[in-house]
């Protein structure tokens, strides 16, 4: 029985890495198109990862290695709990949303710890910004999760998906439009895309947390970002777009990612305390409005 779990675990992890890198490659080409210039082939990100893992790298102490590994492990562990379309690693815990939300924080904690151990002040300033931004976008995201839990009387993503099958009209996107808008903005913050990427602002803090990472550590960061894209878009897809078959699920993820990229291409960077204020006002009010409508 354990063998099947390990086998399913590997499938989930590898698909998340593979698809994540694919989305990044397509995303890069998409951004280049918007800026009317040409980007490398869509498989460019695979090459980068293989290149990074083959170069030698420097590290300051054992906590840096331990932290980066822990960060990546956290994100993979969360992906395991995400129902990729109909496929589930654990039959009895089909995508418990609360576990996913809390497991993500392990990813952040691991990465933050590894980067902070590098001793570079730019890295820690980046992490401080990332964390305060996190408290910003978590509120609207949590509100929409609560709304859906109240709607389906269960906190399993699987049940949320079940409630949406049938014609695409009864997707949650249409049933709770405001909540969908709020969580889309939250997704923007989660992925750390353009308007809310104060934490890796290259100009101010030399790309923040990644300042000390080199070689395979940067590779780990890359992979973590890739599976993070796969995870977050997967959650929103499951919650609001009724993740159907595997292929349908992937396409929905890609569409969501491209939407965030298109917003990113247009907006310039927010100061992160204004970003937090923005998160606490507009998306939260949207989802609150939806909640009030639902409760009334």
């Amino acid at each position: 029985m354990v063998k099947t779990y390990i086998f399913r675990f590997l499938i989930a992890v590898l698909t998340s890495i593979f698809m994540g890198l694919l989305y990044m490659g397509i995303g890069r080409k998409f951004m280049a198109r918007i800026r009317r210039c040409y980007a490398g082939p869509f498989y460019q990100s695979y090459i980068d990862v293989i290149k990074l893992f083959s170069k030698n790298s420097i590290s300051h102490n054992w906590i840096m290695d331990f932290g980066v590994m822990m960060g990546f492990a956290g994100i993979i562990a969360t992906v395991v709990f995400l129902p990729i379309g109909p496929f589930n690693v654990f039959p009895d815990m089909k995508g418990n949303i609360i576990i996913i939300m809390y497991f993500m924080t392990i990813g952040y904690l691991g990465m933050a710890m590894g980067v902070a151990a590098s001793g570079n002040p730019n890295a820690t300033i980046g992490i401080a910004r990332a964390l305060s931004l996190m408290i910003g976008y978590e509120i609207p995201f949590a509100l929409s999760v609560i709304l859906l839990i109240f709607a389906n009387r269960s906190s399993l993503l699987y049940d949320m998906v079940l409630s949406q099958h049938g014609s695409f009209l009864n997707w949650n996107m249409f049933r709770y439009p405001f909540a969908f808008a709020g969580s889309l903005i939250a997704l923007q913050g989660m992925l750390g895309e353009q308007p809310f990427d104060a934490m890796i602002a290259p100009a101010e803090i030399a790309s923040g947390p990644m300042v000390e990472l080199s070689g395979k550590f940067l590779g780990f960061g890359f992979l973590q970002h890739a599976s993070q894209i796969f995870l977050e878009t997967g959650i929103i897809a499951a919650m609001f777009l009724g993740g159907g078959t595997i292929l349908g699920f992937f396409t929905k993820q890609l569409i969501l990612y491209l939407i965030t990229l298109s917003i990113a291409a247009v907006f310039s960077r927010y100061r992160f305390e204004d970003a937090v204020k923005f998160f606490w006002i507009i998306p939260t009010l949207l989802v609150l409005l939806q909640l009030v409508i639902f409760l009334a």
Binding site: M70, A73, I98, S132, I139, I146, S155
Partner: protein, 629 residues
């Protein structure tokens, strides 16, 4: 049997007074042996519930004052985990006191704290509860400020607030005694329940006196300022006891008296206003808990002193526990008690780690520390696991209790309470990482280059606590089974739980599988790490100045440690509505002093004033007599 334990505690405390100053640590060995004994007895009684014992003291005119104890499941659970954690703390403080020739008094009063701890948890009637409550307040006064000048200002918030609360509770007990002619808690809240319909004003007044008594002790909204002061100033191992155990007495009081009262009201809703399925009163109290946790989290984000930060996080966690207790559903109460126990475990771990840091560096301000992880790996690991548990991240026990609270809140349809709890738990992650980074990661200052790991005796409690956190995290059933027996004593239906999975209406979690997935993915990452080219170790400073000697640039390692104003922009967001309750209490005290001065001034300055007072008094008496006749 309980009486013998208490008596032996008092006797040993006098015995410990005669140990000479040089062998100070021998006192603590005595203390931990005593704790081990009590632990053994407690373990013996684990299923002999409802065994009671009474010692008759004084019977003045039919009022028989007697101390009587009863082992209730709630009392047993609380006393077991508190004594166990104090045992760990006492091992830690043996080592801490080897060097110091600390005052004889501290260990003397520690015994009284433990005696009152057992007394409170096993008290069967109000009189015993009040006696040990007073004993605990008086003895904790001396331990928090053993003669340090600065610590008096800190401890007097705690002392004045808790004595005020205790005496208001005495007023409430008086009223209940008026009604029921007996001190038993059981008849107390049934009488109060019937009183709600007859004379609502009096019953609300009585409940408020009890709320004052319990909420001052467990530091909720209007009285939330004393933990930050008391913890910062108390001796380090005592602040572990203070925040791990002493702050729980208020919650124990709630569970003992207020929760059964509200359950009664909930089951037979007569005139009481029922909102959202629970009485309005307890709904307000759960809101008080939620607001405390949010405010405490934001204050913790701003604090730069590591022990103040930990104290504020205790206040926040107590806020969660109160919110979930006052939802009155079986999941709510189970979640609350579970949160209290897990919080006690990981908060003791965090505070012991902080005490170890202070033992080595004698420094409390976080920006003066840094990079201690490279020198003190064991303390770093304890602190890390404590942080993971405090933030409620899955493999550790913090997650299990948070999960329970969410189930209670969500199934009970309290959306806004869930948001408040969620806000404070994400906020918790912010200030916990701040502590982790500023103390353990970042740059190691020159003066701490020769800092060594804490001696082995101090490491034992850390190992045990780490193992405990993981164990209760992966197998939550260990703690949930006794909690179920407590729920049965509240005649609520128990929570469905096996040793490693927790079920609820919304979803179920198998924490063993969660732990296995995490370790599996960690192994996967480790394999990936081995595939990559081996890394080269480089000194951090060589990196920035590209090999040149940083001393020429006048750069010391401290300059590179970013810790002072960690979340400064985030704090500026709240500048406009920053109310300072400490200011309020200080000004209140100043006014009382001025008024007292005015009275004294008017007397002793000269007889002229006193004659005015004399005439005024005479007129008052005559007027009074004339009006009242």
């Amino acid at each position: 049997m309980i009486g013998k334990i208490l008596l032996s505690g008092v006797l040993i405390s006098f015995l410990s007074m005669f140990v000479r100053k040089r062998y100070n640590y021998f006192r603590w060995i005595l203390f931990s042996i005593y704790l081990l004994l009590t632990l053994y007895f407690l373990f013996l009684w684990r299923n002999s519930f409802y065994y009671n014992e009474s010692y008759n003291f004084l019977s003045l005119y039919g009022l028989n004052f007697s101390l009587n104890f009863k082992i209730t499941p709630l009392g047993w659970l609380f006393s077991f985990f508190t004594i166990f954690l104090t045992f760990l703390i006492s091992i830690f403080s043996i080592q801490k006191n080897i060097g110091e020739d600390s005052e004889k008094l501290i260990s003397f009063f520690w015994f009284y704290l433990i005696v009152s701890n057992i007394g409170i948890f096993f008290a069967d009637d109000f009189l015993t509860l009040f006696i040990f409550w007073e004993l605990m307040t008086f003895s904790s006064f001396f331990v928090i400020s053993p003669g340090w000048i600065k610590s008096f200002r800190a401890v007097n918030y705690y002392f004045v607030l808790s004595t005020l609360g205790a005496f208001f509770m005495l007023l409430g007990i008086g009223f209940l005694y008026g009604g029921t002619k007996s001190f038993s808690i059981e008849s107390g809240y049934t009488y109060l329940f019937t009183l709600f319909s007859i004379n609502p004003l009096l019953s609300v007044f009585i409940t408020i006196t009890f709320i004052l008594g319990f909420f001052t002790k467990s530091a909720l909204i209007p009285f939330h300022i004393w933990p930050a002061q008391a913890h910062a100033e108390a001796p380090d191992d005592f602040s572990a006891f203070l925040s791990g155990i002493m702050i729980k007495y208020g919650l124990f009081g709630n569970l003992l008296f207020l929760v059964p009262l509200f359950l009664l009201i909930k089951n037979y809703p007569s005139t009481q206003i029922i909102t959202n399925g629970i009485p309005l009163f307890s709904h307000i109290l759960s809101w008080v808990g939620a607001i405390t946790s949010v405010i405490a989290t934001f204050l913790a984000i701003e604090s730069n002193d590591m022990k103040k930060l930990a104290a504020w996080s205790t206040v926040a966690n107590i806020g969660y526990a109160t919110t979930s207790i006052f939802i009155l559903s079986s999941y709510g109460i189970a979640g609350g008690i579970f949160q209290i126990i897990t919080h006690a475990i990981f908060k003791t771990a965090i505070f012991l780690a902080l005490a170890a840091v202070k033992y080595r560096t004698h420094e409390r301000e976080m920006h003066k520390l840094g990079g201690l992880a490279y020198k003190m790996p064991v303390t770093f690991l304890t602190f890390l696991l404590g942080i993971i548990a405090a933030a409620g991240i899955p493999p550790m026990n913090g997650y299990a209790s948070k999960w329970f609270i969410y189930q209670a809140l969500l199934s009970g349809h309290f959306p806004f309470l869930t948001i408040a709890i969620f806000l404070s738990s994400t906020g918790a992650f912010m200030y916990l990482f701040r502590a982790l980074h500023s103390i353990f990661l970042g740059q190691l200052p020159e003066k701490f280059d020769d800092v060594k790991e804490v001696p082995f005796l101090m490491q034992i409690p850390m190992y045990i606590l780490m193992a405990l956190m993981l164990l209760t995290g992966v197998f939550p059933g260990i703690i949930l089974k006794p909690i179920n027996s407590v729920l049965i004593s509240f005649n609520l239906q128990p929570v469905k739980v096996t040793y490693n999975t927790m079920f609820s209406t919304l979803s179920s979690v198998d924490s063993l599988k969660v732990f296995l997935t995490f370790s599996g993915s960690f192994a996967f990452a480790f394999i990936l790490y081995l595939i990559g080219k081996p890394r080269k170790h480089v000194e951090p400073l060589d990196n920035y100045t590209a090999g040149q000697d940083p001393k020429e640039f006048g750069l010391t390692r401290e300059l590179y440690h970013f810790a002072l104003k960690f979340y400064e922009p985030f704090e500026h967001m709240f500048d406009s509505y920053r109310t300072n309750t400490k200011e309020f209490y200080d000004s209140f005290e100043r006014k009382v002093n001025e008024f007292g001065n005015f009275i004294k001034e008017s007397y002793s300055k000269n007889i002229r004033y006193s004659s005015y007072i004399f005439i005024f008094a005479l007129v008052l008496v005559i007027l009074y007599g004339w009006l009242v006749w």
